[in-house]
Symmetry: C2
Subunit: 185 residues, 2 copies
């Protein structure tokens, strides 16, 4: 039986995107965002409330990074999502996270996160509150690679559950894309 849940912001999976920026004093900042994803070939889109410090930062430096939150750093990622740098300027230190300057864009790479997208800001729309970024490079920790390719079983990316407010790790491989469907052709 079908049940109407009403007008709600529910979708699975939602990502946990760790958005790294520098503020106007070049201090690194990091926040968590679940509203966003791939926008187009080599482009990402983030929906970020215009009041976030991150929005001022990315307008100033025209760049940001997107780190993928992983099971190993759930507590750290949740913490930087809860606390604003406006209230706790040293939130990265408190979370024991290390910001390293990207060599490609004017934004910090979080050393502990195993996969990071270095992005040049294309636009931030004050009306829709949508930031669009060009992916310049993807950085992976060698610990998450198998044969030089990202291995999701090693990455252990987490997703945000918008209903029960939990983080869920990616699990079992259940199919092959552009392949399983051929059985029906």
């Amino acid at each position: 039986m079908k049940i109407d849940l009403g007008r709600k912001t529910i979708l699975y999976p939602m990502p946990v995107l760790m958005v790294g920026t520098y503020d106007k004093k070049d201090k690194p900042d990091l926040m968590a965002a679940a509203w966003g994803g791939i926008f187009n070939d080599n482009m990402v889109c983030l929906c970020l409330d215009r009041n976030h410090k991150t929005v001022a930062n990315l307008k100033e430096h025209k760049a940001f990074t997107v780190g993928v939150a992983d099971a190993k750093h759930v507590t750290e990622c949740d913490y930087v999502g809860i606390v604003s740098a406006n209230d706790e300027p040293d939130k990265l230190d408190k979370a024991n996270l290390t910001a390293v300057k990207s060599t490609r864009v004017d934004a910090p790479v979080i050393d502990e996160l195993p996969l990071t997208l270095e992005c040049q800001l294309v636009s931030y729309d004050d009306n829709t509150e949508q930031a669009v970024g060009n992916i310049i490079n993807v950085i992976a920790d060698d610990s998450i690679l198998t044969g030089g390719k990202v291995d999701p079983a090693k990455l252990k990316a987490i997703t945000y559950d918008p209903v029960n407010h939990t983080y869920i790790q990616l699990g079992e491989v259940v199919g092959k894309a552009f392949s399983d469907g051929k059985k029906l052709q």
Copy 2:
């Protein structure tokens, strides 16, 4: 050690969004999209190549649905992602999927998919190829609910792995959002 993977469209998790529309003859169509997600409160965003039949459909009917692909229907979802309705007008029948007219928007709900967003089209931008939709209602099958709420362990949503081209099911709960991070406060 950090490894540069170059300019690539890599992110985890990517969703598997099953986009349902009617064509100009009111025939239901369904495609799979990995580029998209929540855009804002009660809004979704999909990046859809302007050549997709779905784009013509949603411009015509100003509506679409987004079904969440689940482990149970990997083959069916992959099939409708592989095959265009331009080549196989009866692709829904071939996939044994049942389209039911939404009572709220001019788009089909796929009965077999356990969670569906009914969306009114807000805009489709021919330059950015971005479709934005207002979520009017969320429909859930009662088989995926626990205590009236979506239960991800029952839903078994799948994600798309853009590197290895597999589908990965959501797994274990590894943390509580807006809670675990308080340990560091």
